[in-house]
């Protein structure tokens, strides 16, 4: 049982604020992923939870106790590092048992825990090897094993998959999720990869420039982002942002884009946007909601969207089509059978039930409550 909570946590380095007063509560056994671009303060936050960085201001609690001045070894945490940080002169089993040996655990207890962790991670055959005799994926398993044997209150992962190649990364991602299901421990995981964040997390914390932009379940972030940053960060390829003007035409609301393309909003979103009529706004539309023209599925409200492809990228499962609206580049995700060609005009279908309108000044998504 361990809850981790951060209250107005600030980290300042020589006048630069890396973390600017964040509040976050991570529930017991919850898997929370901190995600954001490099320099957003996510690693610093993790290292403050670990006790590797001092907290300039605010408080961090683990299991109800303020740990600001508690050294790392007494916080009952385990950490997995990006570069594994295995002790190169020790065997796998010595690496895993190092912490327990320092704490003078009985030998048979150490043996039992190491064997158990090795079984969970499927590294039973590697226990007598040295780290240099292992592949990247195996080293990462050992690093996780070292964390598991400690049986800590909190697991901390600092970009653990960044040093692996793409294929292994996907494999280890599944592995981490499986391990968390088998050994449910409160986990804080840092990554800059939004796919990792979405697939692993119970809740994702999107950070930018030292503050939390939004906290939510993966689907919530995907479907209802609150800021332009979150909308653009989650999802791949990222959301299209188009400058537009919101107009009224009789009862209907329309968004007019740069090229004179006008899209009629679905009736149910009229209410939400009525107060913004006449304003210059930004239309946010994901590539997957801008597709080839096809019969609308239930609930879909589609508007025709003319385009002339500049670049066509076949991905196998679908084909990405890039084109321009005014000066802005737009990406659409089409079925490969639509067979778009560069330079040949096509008409796409924009699923306007899934679109967002953003305030160009504040970057906030209209019709949602801002965080904090």
């Amino acid at each position: 049982m361990a809850e981790v909570s951060l209250h107005k946590v600030v980290k300042r380095y020589e006048g630069v604020e890396a973390v600017r007063g964040i509040d976050l509560t991570i529930g017991d056994k919850e898997f929370v992923v901190l995600v954001g671009p490099s320099g957003c303060g996510k690693s610093t936050t993790l290292r403050m939870i670990a006790g590797l960085e001092e907290i300039t201001d605010g408080a961090i609690q683990i299991d109800g106790t303020v740990v600001n001045d508690v050294p790392p070894k007494d916080r009952d945490i385990a950490m997995v590092f990006q570069n594994y940080a295995l002790y190169p002169h020790m065997t796998v089993s010595e690496n895993m048992s190092f912490g327990l040996r320092l704490k003078r655990f009985p030998k048979d207890e150490i043996r039992r825990r190491v064997d158990e962790a090795a079984r969970i991670l499927n590294i039973e055959d590697l226990l007598e090897r040295k780290p240099r005799q292992l592949s990247g994926g195996q080293r990462q398993r050992v690093a996780m094993g070292r964390a598991i044997v400690r049986n800590p209150k909190v697991f901390l992962f600092d970009e653990p998959l960044s040093n692996l190649d793409a294929k292994l990364r996907v494999q280890m991602r599944t592995e981490i999720k499986r391990v968390h299901q088998q050994v449910p421990v409160t986990t804080v995981y840092v990554t800059h990869d939004q796919v990792e964040a979405m697939t692993l997390a119970d809740r994702v914390v999107v950070m930018n420039d030292g503050v939390i932009e939004q906290v939510g379940a993966p689907n919530e972030l995907y479907h209802s982002p609150r800021t332009r940053f979150v909308a653009g960060f989650i999802g791949s390829p990222s959301m299209n942002f188009l400058r537009c003007k919101l107009d009224r035409e009789g009862e209907d609301l329309m968004v007019r884009l740069a090229d004179g393309v006008a899209l009629t909003l679905p009736a149910e979103s009229r209410e939400r946007y009525r107060e913004h009529v006449g304003r210059e706004l930004v239309l946010g539309l994901r590539p997957e909601h801008l597709t080839e023209t096809r019969p609308p599925r239930n609930g879909e409200v589609v508007a025709p969207f003319p385009a002339v492809p500049d670049v066509v990228e076949p991905m196998g499962m679908d084909t990405l089509v890039y084109f321009r609206v005014g000066r802005e580049e737009v990406c659409a995700r089409m079925d490969p059978s639509a067979n778009p060609r560069v330079g040949e005009p096509i008409t796409l279908a924009a699923n306007l039930a899934r679109m967002h309108l953003l305030d160009p000044g504040s970057g906030l998504v209209l019709g949602t409550r801002p965080t904090g």
């Binding site: 950490m79 990006q82 940080a85 190169p88 002169h89 190092f98 240099r132």
Partner: protein, 305 residues
């Protein structure tokens, strides 16, 4: 020129032609390296070889006008004479004692010092690290007179006689070895990823345990390099023992040979050469023994992830 192209053509017939130009430039690079290696080997090996030749000659043969590069009547007389006189063995014992104790002292001081300077970020640690290195840059030729003066003052104040005791070298040599060894070890410790001590910290290790259980084993090649350096410096040091020790029973090997085997303007070349040769043996043995381990450690460190 034609000979070159001829041999190149031969070579390209003999080997796959794919890397023809690569192998040609490689072959020339090899030839030049061998040329210079032989040149340097000759340059550095001729003096010891001449020492060996001379040590096997009688005094009469040394002074005779014969080919100096050949021994006409080899004899072990010099060796027997040197090794049966107590004097030479005393020098040897003094040298060995001083070097072993200095190496130990140096390691005991510089390894923790390097660890503290490279890892425990305390106020002024970077300045202190540079300061340590700057200390090494002050030559002993500049220091021996002030040191002599200090020792004289110490005697006046406390009555403790520091001069003309072999153990005073135990204080003097570390002023040369500690700064440099600390500097080497700072470099080695700096190459150890920061995450390794953070992992140890989270695993519950104290600073001391991190040093002894993680840093020392991981930086073993560096430790050996520093040990070799400290030993070589202590073993070969000449100026300090020359200045600070005078009685025959307090002398170390390099000074002992020079002061006892040169009597006025009489140079006992045979024994000087023998003494020097025997004196050069221990570092040679240590190099030969540790070098394998040293290189093994280096390559192991290079592939660590």
């Amino acid at each position: 020129m034609s000979a070159q192209t001829g041999s190149a053509a031969q070579a390209s017939r003999a080997q796959p032609v794919r890397y023809g130009s690569m192998s040609r430039s490689r072959r020339w690079a090899l030839r030049w390296s061998y040329f210079f290696l032989v040149l340097f080997a000759a340059f550095f090996l001729l003096p010891p070889f001449y020492m060996l030749i001379t040590s096997l000659k009688t005094s009469a043969e040394i002074s005779a006008a014969t080919n100096p590069w050949w021994v006409f009547s080899p004899t072990l007389e010099n060796y027997i004479e040197l090794l049966t006189t107590d004097q030479y063995l005393v020098f040897f014992r003094n040298s060995a004692l001083v070097s072993l104790i200095v190496v130990t002292l140096t390691m005991v001081i510089s390894v923790p010092a390097a660890f503290a300077l490279s890892r425990m970020k305390f106020w002024g640690s970077a300045t202190l690290a540079t300061g340590v290195f700057l200390t090494y840059l002050v030559p002993e030729t500049l220091l021996f007179i002030p040191l002599f003066k200090i020792f004289a003052e110490v005697r006046n104040l406390t009555g403790i006689e520091l001069i003309n005791n072999w153990w005073v070298l135990l204080i003097l040599y570390p002023t040369l070895t500690v700064p440099f060894c600390t500097w080497i070890m700072i470099g080695y410790f700096a190459s150890i990823p920061k995450e390794l001590d953070e992992a140890a910290l989270i695993d519950g290790a104290t600073w001391m345990q991190t040093l002894t259980k993680i840093f020392i084993p991981v930086a073993l090649p560096g430790l050996i390099a520093a040990t070799i350096f400290a030993f070589t410096v202590s073993w070969a040091q000449f100026l300090y023992p020359l200045a600070f020790t005078t009685s025959t029973d307090q002398l170390v090997l390099p000074v002992g040979i020079v002061t006892t085997l040169i009597k006025g303007d009489v140079f006992n070349w045979g024994q000087i050469m023998t003494g020097a040769l025997l004196g050069a043996a221990p570092p040679l043995v240590i190099y030969a023994f540790l070098m394998d381990y040293y290189i093994a450690g280096l390559t192991a460190g290079a592939t660590k992830g």
